[in-house]
Amino acid sequence: MPRQRLYPLADLEDIPGTKVFTARRSRQGYYLHKFCMSLMQSENREEFKKNERAYLDKFPMTEDQKQGVLARDFNRLIELGGNMYFLVKIASTDGWSAQKAVGSMTGMTPEEYATMMREGGRSPEGLRSIREGN
């Protein structure tokens, strides 16, 4: 039976403010994510908190990825192959709520972001497609 592609994969790049986590990005983020998953053990969290840089140096991550972690710059980490389900373990280690971690990527203060969510969240209007502007 002939198979029809429903959309070109290039369309995944057409969503404003969004990096779709693909297999290639997953490989780019592999060691960053290995670090994140190491934080699922309390002794590793303690060691990371004591000396973040020394702990990060145990993983063959890129320097950019290490800087992104040290700065808690989640947007940058996503640019560098990260996915939030891994990255949120850094936030949890810091005692941040998931809302604070996610809100930190929006340019809003935690209070502004929390208020937006309580008021119904961010409307998809104008944020569906870069090409269509809708």
Partner: protein
């Protein structure tokens, strides 16, 4: 013979689990959410199944780093709650029903679903939050649970259509299990939410409610929705909703909607919850 008697769907937001664990369910922020689960907590006391096939996604707790299975079935005798960075949730150990899990796994492969079998893993909030929402805080879960994990994180995820067909295959597998078992299928995750980038915080009430409308009575329509549609309309993590299609297809053609609940927000996410009774 085993039969699928009912289906439940719910969001599985980690903060909901934290609210339960920390005794915050009556706080102003959380009370309206837990109100939405009062019905099911009562209903399930009289309708406790022998086994739940619990469709969820692992949030980079046991899977997704070294191994990324599209569909995977838990095949250990029991599963501990994962430490996701703040310690393990204080919930009972999840007990599997090995005979049914083995039968379903075998039948799925025979039915051309090449499912991955996981002999050891911890289960994260994706699985334990729904259990807590239905059964509350308890010493042990009142039924066996077969974890069925779906990749909704790394693209491409399975399509909605593929999830629909998996649900049908699960239905066929359960119906051919010789032991007399009452089985429920739960679909979890969603509804609209995006946890990344400048579009984070996206909520699409119109999309979510259309999904809920169609899921009960015109679910085949949903099987045609593309992954891209979910990403655009419901956010990068909103695509978790494809797991609800597995639950719905497993129930067969007709369902009675016993309960529906929708609330915005819990943390970053729109909360949706339905309870369906199978008609056939």
């Amino acid at each position: 013979m085993a039969r699928i008697s009912a289906g439940i769907a719910t969001s599985h937001v980690p903060a909901i689990g934290a609210a339960i664990d920390l005794g915050k369910t009556q706080d102003e922020y959380w009370a309206p959410i837990f109100q939405g689960y009062e019905f099911v907590k009562e209903w399930i006391k009289d309708n406790t199944p022998d086994v739940v096939i619990l469709v969820y996604n692992d949030h980079a707790s046991a899977l997704m780093l070294d191994i990324v299975p599209t569909f995977a079935i838990g095949f250990a005798e029991e599963f501990q709650s994962a430490d996701e960075g703040w310690g393990r949730r204080p919930v009972p150990v999840v007990q599997n029903h090995i005979d049914l899990a083995a039968h379903v796994a075998e039948q799925l492969v025979i039915d051309e679903f090449d499912i991955t079998i996981i002999n050891e893993m911890d289960v994260d909030h994706g699985l334990t939050v729904p259990l807590s929402l239905m059964f509350g805080q308890t010493e042990e879960w009142p039924c066996k649970v077969i974890p069925l994990a779906v990749n909704v994180t790394q693209f491409p995820t399975p399509s909605g259509e593929r999830c629909w067909k998996l649900g049908e295959a699960i239905r066929n597998a359960v119906k051919t299990f010789p032991e007399d078992l009452d089985v429920q299928v739960w679909g979890t995750g969603g509804m609209s939410h995006q946890l990344q980038g400048t579009r984070a915080g996206l909520i699409n009430k119109e999309f979510d409610n259309q999904f809920l409308d169609l899921l009960a009575h015109e679910p085949e329509e949903l099987a045609t929705w593309t992954r891209l549609k979910y990403l655009r309309e419901a956010g990068t993590e909103g695509i978790e909703l494809i797991m609800w299609l597995i639950m719905r297809a497993a129930l067969g053609y007709g369902v009675e909607e016993l309960h529906r609940f929708y609330h915005v927000p819990a943390s970053n996410t729109a909360v949706g919850h339905v309870v369906y009774k199978a008609k056939s």
